[in-house]
């Protein structure tokens, strides 16, 4: 029960950035609701999986591929290209903090000199960035890689 409350709170907080960034990408008004639902579902699914000790990369892959297939359904239904919903929906899962920590660590390595602690931060965050991002994009591309294989979706 407590977990359910946490998931609902997580979903609500994830819907806000999905809509916010969808507006930066100028997603049409009628599609904003799909971005909100997609963002909430994908992020809360990842939250749930990570709660059961699934690694963040695998949890991201599962969440983003479910978003990819959900986007496929919506896109066929509304005749709208898939990136319109899917990219905004996965924005809450983008490893932005990891990416910035990596580069700030690199800047620090240059200005303060080499140290093992900072190198450790750079390596760990850099690898997290790469693998989470790979999982995100691969998950979204999965329907067109597996099912459509070069044919147009809409």
């Amino acid at each position: 029960m407590e977990l359910l409350t946490l998931i609902i709170i997580d979903a609500l907080f994830a819907a806000v950035p999905a809509v916010g960034f969808a507006m930066v990408f100028n997603v049409p008004k009628k599609m904003l609701i799909y971005c909100a639902i997609g963002g909430a579902l994908a992020h809360s699914l990842r939250f749930l999986l990570m709660n059961f000790d699934v690694q963040i990369e695998w949890a991201t892959l599962i969440a983003s591929s479910s978003m990819g297939f959900l986007g496929l359904y919506w896109s066929r239904k509304r005749l709208i290209p898939r990136p319109v919903f899917t990219v905004a929906s996965v924005i809450p899962m983008i490893p932005g903090s990891f990416a910035f920590t990596t580069v700030i660590g690199l800047v620090e390595l240059n200005s303060a000199g080499y140290s093992i602690e900072i190198m450790q931060i750079v390596t760990e965050n850099g690898l997290k960035t790469l693998f989470i991002l790979g999982a995100l994009s691969f998950g979204l591309a999965l329907p067109s890689i597996l099912i459509y294989r070069g044919r147009p979706i809409v």
């Binding site: 950035p17 930066v24 903090s97």
Partner: protein, 259 residues
């Protein structure tokens, strides 16, 4: 169906216009390629061959041994999904034969990018980054600090983008503003862990769309455009980090590398 040379030239121009609009407004290369080919074939060409690179498209239409080739530069106009939707809708209507060549041309020329009210976007981005601060474990005071820091940065980002400033300069300055406002919260110890606001307030500057497009281009075989997008996104990330580091050096607040 017979196609005169003039008609073939016209068809090529219409197809390249559609591809150019898609490319300029941030569609992935596969979508640019497919849509251009579909429009060309629907208008009567036997096949459309095109090469999509990071800043231009080259297209050739073939009809009974006749080739017409044309090139368009694609300057970045900023991501606009509404334009992508509209071009695709025109393509689908053309394939269902609801439109003819002249109508397609007229509709493509009439497309105008829709933009949300800028203050609405500022407020929404403020709330978005504030929600990220919740994911990092921040409390309500941190939420408020993050809101103002990222909203301030978004105002600057829109203003500079409106004046066509270089995106790298734009992102570095916006990151500087976001970090400077958020560090006020750290200096006055506003909330439990005010450092969270430093990390959350710059997340509006993550180049999420270019990064996802980069990987998906590479996955779908457009390696060179994928690499170009990846490098662009990496450069944006570096600019943002430079902005953050400059602000932290000036204010003496640190919060990124300490675990």
């Amino acid at each position: 169906m017979k196609l005169t040379h003039e008609a073939q030239t016209e068809l090529t121009r219409i197809a390249v216009k559609a591809g150019q609009i898609l490319h300029q407004h941030g569609a992935e290369s596969r979508l640019v390629e497919q849509t251009t080919q579909r429009i060309g074939v629907a208008l009567g060409a036997q096949s459309i061959e095109l090469s999509v690179s990071s800043d231009a498209i080259v297209i050739t239409s073939l009809f009974e041994g006749n080739c017409v080739t044309t090139t368009r530069r694609c300057y970045d106009r900023g991501i606009n999904m509404q334009m992508v939707c509209d071009v695709l809708r025109i393509c689908v209507m053309l394939e269902k034969q609801l439109l003819d060549a002249a109508q397609v041309k007229e509709r493509l020329a009439r497309l105008k990018p829709y933009k949300y009210n800028r203050w609405l976007v500022v407020v929404m981005i403020g709330f978005s980054c504030a929600s990220f601060s919740h994911f990092f474990g921040g409390d309500w005071p941190v939420y408020i600090t993050t809101f103002f820091a990222s909203a301030g940065a978004m105002i600057l980002r829109q203003e500079l983008a409106h004046r066509h400033h270089n995106p790298f300069v734009n992102f570095a300055l916006s990151a500087f503003v976001a970090t400077s406002i958020a560090s006020i919260g750290v200096i006055y110890q506003f909330g439990d862990k005010p450092q969270i606001a430093l990390a959350a307030s710059v997340l509006l500057l993550v180049p999420g769309f270019p990064l996802i497009n980069a990987v998906s281009d590479i996955l779908k075989g457009h390696i060179s455009t994928g690499i170009a997008r990846w490098v662009f996104a990496t450069m944006l990330t570096i600019s943002v980090s430079i902005g953050i580091v400059t602000s932290m050096t000036l204010t003496g607040v640190s919060g990124w590398l300490s675990p």
